[in-house]
Symmetry: C2
């Protein structure tokens, strides 16, 4: 926490070394919390015993001056080690060293590698299979054997490919250590565990292809935009293209577009398209066989550079304007000042400090009756594991699987783009959070690390944990005699990943009634389109700019375990009904009723939210009825809007993102289907490492261990208010999980943070505050603008090969 | 504000008199706020001139000790009087006095009235027609002439009825004052302006009917539940029934049910149904002709009391259990204490006080670039008028129209219930808010008043206004070089109405990007059903209790004026598409595109949200294009879930709630269609005062003054977690209005409450805080539990006839 808040650069080495010893100071066990029996309250119910009050509130110091000081026990030791935790620095280094010693892998360090050398892309912990994990977290079994998950970029071949391999067991021992292809989590048809690499010649793509062809039209780009893109320092133009590349008919083709390079300080390039596109067939590694297939400008396709040049310098060529950087593309404050805006706005403060406990080493968190572990990996960033409420597991796993941003347009750049962001990774882009802005200043901040090019990078303060009071109550009721209101204080875990232009704020929230919310909010720069001919694909939002329409679909895995792993999904719909009753005197009444069904097999396991919100989706344990015979369960509830992909059978994606096709998808849990996709699905869209639709093969999902794959998302047609950045007031999507007959009564009744006021006839009210600490008035120290922001320093990097833990350095360059 | 916070009962008279003079101290005009030209920022952009800083932040005192004290100008004078304001006490008293002087009305004071006397039900301001109002609020026209809206309960007749009348002009002058039937706002087919009163014999209904028939089965109720309902002080049972009454075939019939009366302090009766129902035909006022038509118990219908008695005392009668009050039905804290819960939780504080200005007398509010007036009436509570952003009106009117709660069940009580809550009124039930629980302790609180039985009641502190910082940012973007984040500070206006069992929290929120949110959250006690045979209508949630399924549909009027009154609704859908392009080399691509259309007439004006959120609903001004040729407008966006009524052509409602049939309904604005319904629609369901469906008669709604009637709501199938009260984490519905190409750029760029951090290479970051006040660290005085709650005193009542302003008294009995 706040490790480098006050550091100067000279102190880096010392500080970075602290990283590995962070856990040392948080091992104190909390004193056990007193438990009172649930149930009937007698005469003494509103009188909290003093010793309990003290225990609950922490030890408030005795003397008057310090009556406002709390010493809550906010460190805790996780009941078990976090088996979804990262490799240690030493483990990572040992794996890397071992890998380089394996002749059969024929590896070269990234620094020394050419496009024809094999390199290590990834070294991280291989998360255990659930079947192996349950015995450990629920019983007395030993922890699952630890393995490293490694991805090798095999480029020393005409047909470059990535391989997922498993290395271990850890700690490595030269007699037992081995690597084996990692294939079981993937369902690729051909050569499982391998996927081709379409980017092997990424450098040559620029130096020997894009810049070369750009140079052949430099006179045109100069005339159109007074700029060139030739790989020179004074380039004012950039070239980049579609993702994934097109893979039809056994050919690899790509469209690239020209963009203005921002002239200011902002990351605004995606707002500066210029409307010229080039088509290349780049099949194979022999660049001499690559083929420039044409140019497109203003919706006219030219079969060759010659044809394009001829047209351009002919009489009828229509030159359109350029999108040029400017204040409109910068996020800094602008426009008239707002009345009273410079006075400090309201802010949430935590008078008693943290009311939750964290084991920072194991990333284990306890708030009120919730507990969970946090896992973190390169592909998807933060994942929650073993989410429990009142000691019972609700979810084994809850985390992002993939974020798709599928564009469309009249031009091939937008039409051809369908980003699968785990290719870039959410871990590497989970930048440091801005205290007091991304999360409250009083939040607890955790670090995260990821592997890149024989180093591990640590994003400081990249996960935040905080409690917050909603601006509305949890419960209330007023009669003419009393008012009863309960505060809605919730707990949130957040990380923000900025994958290129877009910033995704991921938040998991926990509520006093046992509810959990999953939310994503989007900000950052849109990827825009050149305006020409794009009327049917977006609004015109600036001089020559179209707000390129796109669908965001973010898939989350929610592996529910409701009172065990034997779960079912019950659908409960409210439907119009015409009914006669024994008492309706023969008349048919227009009314409504409930229809229930259980989703029996995976064949029926993919569907959308019902029209008019009429259908409840309930994850229940049919063998765990409550005392009134109802299935105990959790309801899955759309919260702030969701979306699945508009495009049917996308030409860009083919089989690479079948997860995006429905709102809700339920499959039987299998160790062989741990994730809905793979970061390299974009490399072989016809036969991707994971084709999600193959999960659905008719198996029973009734009274089985089931997984819900839930899509959040939004259809985004950017308008002028998306400039310079999309705002998070409206760019949001969320789902809630809420107890459904899981308990006999609302669980928020347990909190003391409620009040009952008995009033009437103008007399002073009788106020029951249920044992809340009612005074004295305490001063809170508050500084309007969080002063520690100068401590925002970027990533800490530790070299893993050769292992050099004593020379960490700062570098913020997250590209894998 | 907080008028009576510190008062003792002896000081009541003085305090209440203050009510009418509240406005006196808030007339100071604010000093004009400096305006800087919008647009390009130069070298000086980040340096805010000192004098501006002082003006924006208020006058911060010069000496160091007080550097944390702000004196913001938070009072303001409304630019025009609030023409949607209430009648003054004097006006109300004069109208009442005048009415009693009109022989043709033949009025009796409520106190002295029998069931056969005419009484005054309502005296309040008649809100002006929009066509009359616009000239005043937008131009130099004089204010619309003020009239009183009066409802008379005409019971001195065999066929009792209510009449809406208009009395005025105000101030009353004996030569010009008159009353005329108020008919133009209603579209009743027969006798517009009048609606029958089915409750005229409400007292006799109990004393001469229900208790009499209950007494005939007292031996049965004693045996079943050890209780009786006979109108005696020691009754332990209550009887009440369906709403609306059934009105088929010219008969008026009602079902009544038996309920246990709560034995504790809580308002839990709606959780205590007993499963016995009686059917009465109560057509006409001659009670001797009323007919007991039967009894129902455990789904067996008995044609007469004799038949029921015979069965009950026969051998085969199956007696079922009773729902009995207990801790399960009380909202007080119960169960084990939560860890650390007694320590004060996080809380929002306002270090600089209010950053908005309020004219309390005119209920006029200015926050940042938003301004609006608040109206308040008996039927619907709070309504916002003339909502402007940056000086331009966005909405002429925004407010609740009606809240329907439509139940269904196997028993006639639930099947027959479809509450139209404005019959009870949202104004009378807008109870005092609980500071620090319903709204932040630092909020501004306003009073509201309503008329009842020759008195006016004032709910103290029943509207709150506050600013709040969301737990997530408005905007953010991080690159490897900088992070830019903007706080999401918003402004909210809230009132809570508890209509019987349910508490509706209504919130209108305003955001820095120009967005507005409309939200309702529900808490309080559910109306539950007796469990027998109700499996198809709800969950069993307690011993003999079913969580009776019901639909909440809350209709809001949103009278948009986007840059004038000539508005259109544009639909913009994202749709799957198969397309070929000049560049697609003959291939058809599976992609998507936008389809747009304008809703031309009211015939097409009623529809639902599109599947998969694919259709944007935009209110635009087609003649006000932005500079890129796009229609300027606002988007209407589902936020936290909405619902329309499941039941088709409800047997209970017939024509009384046609507003509930679709999600979105657009009609041409007419002065004759000011409201979607009428509080007495329940009294004549076949021919109600307002049949909403008649608004839709094919008129053009393109480039017209249009009104959107939007339904919020939820399908509520209560589960055990709704006991004792429904919680607001999940019982929510909301809609947002957000600028769509309305501006050229996101308006939140204006706020100083943002930061840009330039960082890298581990060096201390450069932090730009854009003129925010950056220190010093200020102590905030905070008391954990809001200490003023003992000032929660109930309503202040002032008698209007005879007018007795100097003897106000306290009484909290909101029944109209």
């Amino acid at each position: 926490m706040g490790l480098l808040d006050c550091i100067n650069p000279r102190a880096i080495v010392t500080s970075a070394l602290l990283l590995t010893s962070l856990a040392q100071d948080v091992l104190a066990r909390p004193s056990p919390e007193p438990k009172l029996p649930w149930g009937r309250h007698g005469a003494g119910k509103k009188k909290m015993a003093d010793h309990i009050k003290r225990a609950m509130a922490g030890e408030r110091r005795a003397n008057n001056e310090s009556a406002c000081a709390y010493t809550l026990t906010t460190t805790i030791t996780a009941p078990k080690p976090n088996i979804w935790g990262p490799l240690t620095d030493v483990e990572t280094a040992s794996v890397v060293e071992w890998l380089f010693a394996q002749d059969d892998l024929n590896l070269t360090t990234t620094e020394d590698a050419t496009a024809w050398d094999n390199t290590i892309v990834l070294v991280e912990a291989l998360w255990p299979n659930k079947t192996d994990a349950l015995g450990f977290i629920d019983g007395n079994a030993t922890a699952p054997t630890k393995y490293a998950h490694v991805i090798i970029n095999n480029r020393a071949t005409d047909a470059p490919y990535y391989t997922d391999i498993q290395v271990g067991p850890l700690p490595l021992d030269n007699t037992t250590a081995s690597w084996v292809p990692l294939t079981y989590p993937y369902n690729k048809q051909n050569e499982p565990g391998k996927v081709r690499n379409l980017d092997a010649d990424q450098e040559a793509m620029y130096s020997e292809w894009l810049y070369v062809h750009s140079a052949t039209v430099a006179d045109i780009t100069l005339e159109l935009w007074n700029g060139t893109a030739m790989g020179l320092d004074n380039d004012t133009l950039d070239i980049w293209g579609i993702d994934p590349m097109w893979q039809d008919d056994g050919r690899i083709t790509r469209w690239d577009a020209f963009w203005n390079i921002p002239t200011g300080e902002f990351d605004s390039e995606t707002l500066l398209p210029l409307g010229l596109y080039m088509l290349s067939d780049i099949t194979g590694r022999d660049i001499s066989k690559w083929k420039l297939e044409g140019w497109l400008y203003n919706n006219i396709f030219y079969n060759s550079t010659e044809e394009f040049r001829k047209a351009f310098f002919g009489k009828c060529f229509k030159k359109l304007g350029a999108n040029v950087d400017g204040d409109w593309a910068g996020t800094d404050r602008q426009g008239p000042f707002l009345p009273m805006d410079a006075a400090p706005p309201p802010v949430q403060v935590a008078p008693a400090g943290s009311r939750y406990a964290v084991d920072k080493k194991e990333k284990y968190v306890v708030w009120m009756d919730f507990s969970f572990y946090i896992g973190f990996n390169r592909d998807t960033g933060m994942t929650l594991y073993d989410v429990r409420y009142k000691g019972e597991r609700i979810l084994y796993e809850l985390g992002l699987q993939e974020a798709l941003a599928h564009y469309a347009g009249a031009d091939p750049m937008q039409s051809g783009t369908a980003y699968l962001d785990t290719f870039y990774g959410f871990g590497p882009y989970a930048f440091e959070l801005v205290k007091g802005y991304d999360c409250p200043a009083y939040a607890t901040y955790l670090n995260t690390s990821f592997y890149v090019e024989e180093t591990s990078h640590t994003h400081l303060n990249s996960i935040c944990l905080f409690e917050y009071e909603a601006d509305f109550a949890m419960q209330r009721h007023t009669s003419s005699k009393y008012a009863s209101v309960t505060k809605n204080t919730y707990f949130a875990v957040r990380s923000v990943s900025t994958v290129g232009n877009y910033d995704y704020t991921f938040t998991y929230s926990f509520y006093l009634d046992g509810s959990i919310a999953v939310e994503v909010r989007a900000s950052g720069y849109i990827q825009s389109a050149y305006f020409a001919n794009n009327k049917d694909y977006g609004f015109q939002i600036h001089d020559f700019l179209s707000g390129s329409m796109h669908d965001h679909v973010l898939n989350f895995k929610a592996d529910f375990d409701i009172l065990g792993t034997s779960n079912s999904v019950e659908l409960m719909s409210v439907v119009p009904a015409k009914k006669t009753y024994p008492w309706s005197q023969g008349k048919t009444r227009n009314t409504m009723a409930i229809e229930r069904s259980i989703v029996e097999t995976e064949d029926d396991g993919r569907f959308d939210w019902g029209a008019n919100g009429a259908t409840q989706v309930l994850v229940v344990n049919e063998d765990a009825k409550n005392k009134f015979g109802e299935n105990r369960g959790y309801r899955i509830l759309p919260y702030t809007g969701t979306a699945h992909l508009t495009v049917k059978d996308s030409s860009n994606l083919v089989n690479a993102a079948r997860f995006a096709e429905y709102d809700i998808q339920i499959s039987k849990h299998k160790d062989t289907e741990p994730r809905a996709t793979h970061p390299f699905n974009s490399q072989d869209t016809y036969d991707p490492p994971v084709d999600f639709s193959k999960f659905f093969d008719g198996e029973s999902i009734r009274k089985e261990d089931i997984v819900l794959w839930l899509n959040l998302g939004m259809h985004h047609v950017p308008h002028s208010g998306d400039l310079p950045n999309t705002v998070m007031t409206t760019a949001h999507s969320g789902i809630q999980f809420t107890p459904s007959n899981y308990f006999d009564i609302d669980q928020s009744r347990q909190t003391v943070n409620q009040v009952r006021i008995n009033y009437g006839k103008g007399q002073a009210a009788k106020v029951d505050t249920f044992g809340q600490v009612t005074g004295p008035t305490c001063p809170i120290s508050y500084t309007p603008v969080e002063p520690e922001l100068t401590g925002y320093v970027g990533d800490i990097v530790v070299r893993k090969f050769p292992f050099d833990p004593n020379n960490p350095y700062f570098e913020t360059d997250s590209i894998v």
